[in-house]
Subunit: 240 residues, 2 copies
DNA sequence: TGTCTATAATTGTATATACAAATGCTGGAA
DNA sequence: TTCCAGCATTTGTATATACAATTATAGACA
């Protein structure tokens, strides 16, 4: 028998959290506004004070609220948003510099999402993904090792593309206008395959850029981009 | 009468949190290791299960632990696992997390710009600069080594500040409203001093963030920020 | 008037208890 | 042997209760 898991009831503290979060988003509570006390919340949602306390305490931990003992709970005052890193597509940059560019496609295949990939791409384990691995070079020197995982359900034609003329990101951005992008940058040591493909030694530190892209709230792709640390720099400069 | 506020006793759930955190940092618990159950923690620390529960629950929220109902609680497997939870901003935003934060000022002095620094800060060789070196820590563990070079002509009072209460960037941004900022990120291996100050081994790759800030077209400061690669991630997510 | 004090309001922590939910295991039934 | 039911373990949530700590304020007092 096929068992469909229904969403199920939310915990009561979660209901309170969502309610407060929504109210803040809808500007019903403005920054610095006082929100109801634990007693009032407990009354309103018909829960114990401890449950209201947990809801509020977690929202404080998440930075939405601040509390002052003896005074009350308030919406966190606005803070300056810090500038975010704008990381451009390496292929675009190489193109613009008009150097001799090549990408070598080593692999392009369909796989099944394991647990980790499923989490990263917001699909279920076992769902189909397309995987591609390629090395971007400039004047013959490897600059980037790019592994991409693409939601095969959303982009069924990905696997038939010819990526020697158009890079994966060019293809994807034409089909799926980019609405959101996430970059997470780490410093890592290259594994054996990465050493070989990038032609570097085992003790060359590398920049690892994890990039996920969304298009209209669909999570389209996850890319794992490895750059030899001594060859490449991520740069951003922005006016505020 | 002058009343001196003593540190006071820590809440019991905090004691448990610290104990677990320390054990993880000292590698007494390794990634994927199971930690004691709530019941065992309650027994060990002589508290109720709810108190142990709160300690563990908060550590889960902070990403150190993962729990599986019916199975137990485990040290979070090495990074990459939870990109959805780990959204950390650049450098000084450590502050905003309400963890125990400290910076240790190791040096603060006036120097003369050499050729390289002169280029970076847009001054002439020999011009006066202020140099500061400090280590930012969270819960006692080094997260960032920060070296700053500040244009002494533009910010003559920099050298007299007490940076134990206010970070250099907080001080600078109050005095000089930020109009432009540049980040250049590299992967590097730590030198000897960096290993010592960050308490890492020679083969821990690091993220080096070079940051320059401008205020009304004046180049105010250049900072060289080193983060252990396995501890820190630069993350950005932006809607387009 | 100015100052101190008691009090109310609110959050902070701690506990005992109860039951629900998820997981792995074991032992018995088919 | 295979499968399934039930059990033990562990986490997840909810509550009532208690007392501590912090802050503002109203009222007493000099």
């Amino acid at each position: 028998m096929e068992v469909v898991k229904l969403p199920g009831v939310q915990p009561r503290f979660q209901v309170i959290k969502d309610s407060i979060t929504q109210a803040i988003r809808k500007r019903e509570y403005l920054p610095d506004d006082q929100i109801p006390t634990e007693f009032e919340l407990a009354e309103k949602f018909q829960v114990s004070r401890m449950t209201a306390n947990r809801a509020v305490r977690e929202l404080v931990a998440e930075g939405l609220l601040v509390r002052h003992q003896g005074l009350g709970t308030f919406v966190t005052p606005l803070k300056v948003e810090s500038p975010l890193l704008e990381i451009r597509n390496i292929a675009d940059e190489i193109h613009e510099r008009r150097n001799i560019y090549s990408n070598e496609r080593y692999e392009l295949k369909q796989i099944e999402a394991d647990k980790k990939l499923a989490g990263l791409l917001g699909v279920n384990s076992g769902d189909p993904l397309y995987y591609s691995l390629m090395v971007h070079k400039e004047n013959g020197f490897p600059l980037q090792l790019a592994e991409r995982y693409v939601n095969a359900t959303l982009v069924p034609d990905y696997i038939e593309q010819d990526f020697s003329r158009k890079t994966p990101s060019e293809y994807l951005s034409e089909l799926f206008p980019l609405s959101e992008i996430e970059h997470i940058v780490e410093a890592v040591m290259p594994d054996r395959q990465e050493q070989d493909l990038l032609d570097i030694s085992a003790n060359t530190p590398c920049l690892l850029v994890n990039r996920r892209t969304w298009s209209m709230n669909n999570l389209i792709s996850y890319a794992r981009l490895v750059h030899p640390g001594n060859l490449y720099r991520l740069s951003s400069r922005s006016k505020i």
